[in-house]
């Protein structure tokens, strides 16, 4: 009698396994959470030192137009105006997203609505291949093909926002396209059937029904592409020119937050003011990626199919 009682009260093997599994997954989650929090803490403590330790005015930093932290400006303080880089980053990001979006939507519509067979067979692998190319390759192609091309057409040195935009457009295109494809595929089949049943042509069905239904997903894809463009460093650094001056036009050399950061960090001494201001740029990048994430979540929530 006791034996049966014991076997019933004892935790079974399945329960044990579940407990182990639960502990494992929770500890993995905790570890990731700790990593994220410590990254935020580290970057923020370094980045905010600019304002609290080195006593640099926050507004001067965000709106100043001269970037030369190793030199003291007219007011006796180091020239730490980050506006040229902030403007450069945003310009390149927005422009490349604007160019990439129509191409991405066009390709995605072709792949899912017009010719799903060729889409799945040829275009899908092609776009996936583009994702796998390392960014240094994009940068090198940009340097040897795009920059001379821009120079010959528009004059100037060829380095600038325009070259950066073209390189980034190609880089984010596969991301935006594949996410748009997923969104279009997830539009319920009965939407198409109903549209066709009430006499809509294929174009009307695509334009008025499918794309409308997929709008939140497409927007998410675009924001996702923008987040990628905003954070891209290597390829942009090779073609943008890296001159921290306000971009007067699209073909004059400019700089982005990432390009200034990667170029400067090895040449400054840890803990010095010149180093701290670079961490502040990193903090701006981190906060921006947070903003992009929040936007994606908001769009996702708003567009939920109920």
């Amino acid at each position: 009698m006791d034996e049966i009682r014991e076997s019933l009260l004892k935790t079974s093997i399945a329960t044990k396994k579940e407990r182990i599994g639960k502990t494992l997954s929770i500890s993995a989650l905790l570890l990731i959470a700790i990593v994220v929090v410590s990254i935020f803490y580290f970057v923020a403590s370094k980045g905010l030192a600019t304002f609290f330790v080195d006593k640099i005015n926050f507004w001067d930093f965000m709106t100043g137009k001269t970037w030369n932290p190793s030199v003291n400006g007219a007011n006796g303080k180091p020239e730490t105006g980050a506006l040229p880089m902030i403007v450069g980053s945003f310009l390149i990001t927005v422009l490349s997203a604007i160019i990439a979006t129509p191409f991405a939507i066009g390709t995605a519509v072709f792949m899912t609505e017009i010719s799903p067979k060729y889409g799945a067979k040829i275009l899908q692998p092609v776009t996936e291949l583009l994702v796998g190319i390392p960014s240094v390759v994009y940068g090198f192609i940009g340097l040897t093909v795009v920059v001379p091309f821009i120079r010959n057409i528009f004059g100037g040195s060829g380095f600038g926002i325009l070259s950066g935009t073209i390189v980034l457009f190609v880089m984010i295109l596969p991301t935006v396209t594949s996410m748009t494809v997923d969104t279009l595929r997830s539009v319920p089949q009965y939407y198409r059937e109903s549209a066709l049943a009430i006499g809509a042509t294929r174009w009307q069905a695509i334009y008025k029904v499918i794309l409308r239904a997929a709008t939140p997903g497409i927007l998410t894809a675009v924001v996702f592409g923008m987040a990628r463009a905003f954070g891209e460093a290597l390829a942009v650094q090779m073609v943008v020119g890296n001159a921290a001056i306000m971009p007067g036009n699209l073909i004059s050399p400019a700089a982005t937050l990432t390009s200034v950061l990667t170029m400067g960090i090895g040449n400054t001494v840890m803990g010095s003011m010149q180093n701290d201001v670079l961490w502040t740029l990193a903090l701006i990048l981190l906060l921006m990626s947070l903003v992009f994430n929040i936007i994606i979540r908001l769009i996702g929530k708003k567009g939920e199919l109920k």
Binding site: A243, P253, A255, G264, T268, M270
Partner: protein, 290 residues
């Protein structure tokens, strides 16, 4: 299900075994004879090459060489994180570094030359012209006897050792006008070679036939001119240690400065031997004859 368990077990055992092995052999791999050199990318190839030769002769010595930039090298050696900090500059010249307590070992000399695109049509400039070009006062090659072509400036990243040396000795301390910046000498050369009207500066070892070396005030950028300080744009390559080096580290630094390395690896890699120098330059820029 069963197969995946087998694979997982194999991976876990292999990883565990590898970690255990590394733990057990850490003494042989590291333990006392491991040195790390971090810093200047200009000096990296020399320390790497010499380090390999040295490690080949002294079994058990492992020299780990990394780039990262002059600032990284100096700050890491100052905090004691690495054994050797490679630098293009005197520690006194770098802001944020307390040069006291750091010991300087000069292991090579590097000459720096302005390079121009071949289409510019110039072979030499006066120093005054060079300064005016880099401060943005002269904007067309026509003004200095070249072709009618706009000048495109190209800089190394602000804070780079090469740029600091160039601004100090070629521009007499003047700041270069805001211009495109590049991270590496190789990139600078290829951009100058392909961009009409471009001008920049690189170490002698990078100035090949694809670009035009620019003489200044009739002085050609040659090794012989550097050794007599006739060509003034040059710098020592320094290896800094925290305090006087001891044991293997001191031995390795002696090896770097030995006739053998200075006569073989140093010129092969495009540096100038410290033994060839007829002059000596102090941290404050004062030059004395040896």
């Amino acid at each position: 299900m069963k197969r995946s368990w087998v694979i997982t077990t194999i991976i876990v055992v292999a990883l565990g075994g590898w970690l255990g092995y590394s733990y057990n052999t850490r003494a042989q791999n590291g333990g006392g004879t491991q040195m790390t050199a971090v810093g200047s990318t200009a000096l990296q190839p020399l320390v790497e090459a010499a380090g390999e030769e040295y490690a080949g002769k002294h079994l058990g010595v492992f020299i780990n060489v990394q780039g990262g930039g002059t600032g990284t090298g100096l700050s890491q050696v100052q905090t004691g994180a690495v054994t050797m900090g490679d630098s293009d500059l005197f520690a006194e010249e770098k802001e944020g570094i307390n040069a006291k307590g750091l010991v300087d070992h000069q292991v090579a000399v590097v000459g720096i030359t302005p390079i121009a695109n071949k289409d510019a049509g110039i072979k030499e400039l006066t120093q005054a012209q060079l300064i005016q070009i880099f401060t943005g006062k002269i904007t067309n090659w026509k003004q200095v006897g070249g072709k009618d072509l706009a000048i495109t400036l190209l800089n190394r990243a602000s804070g780079s050792g090469t740029r600091a040396v160039f601004e100090k000795w070629a521009l007499k301390g003047a700041e270069s006008a805001p211009a495109p910046e590049q991270d590496s000498s190789g990139m600078v050369r290829s951009i100058v070679a392909t961009t009409p009207g471009a001008i920049s500066y690189v170490a002698f070892s990078y100035a090949d036939k694809s670009v035009q070396k620019v003489a200044i005030d009739h002085v050609e950028p040659t090794v012989a001119n550097v050794t007599t300080n006739t060509w003034k744009i040059w710098a020592y390559e320094h290896v800094y240690t925290k305090g006087q080096p001891k044991g293997q580290v001191a031995d390795f630094l002696n090896y770097l400065q030995s006739e053998k390395i200075q006569n073989t690896v140093v010129p092969q890699l495009g540096y100038i031997s410290i033994h060839d120098m007829h002059v000596q330059r102090k941290a404050d820029g004062q030059v004395i004859n040896k």
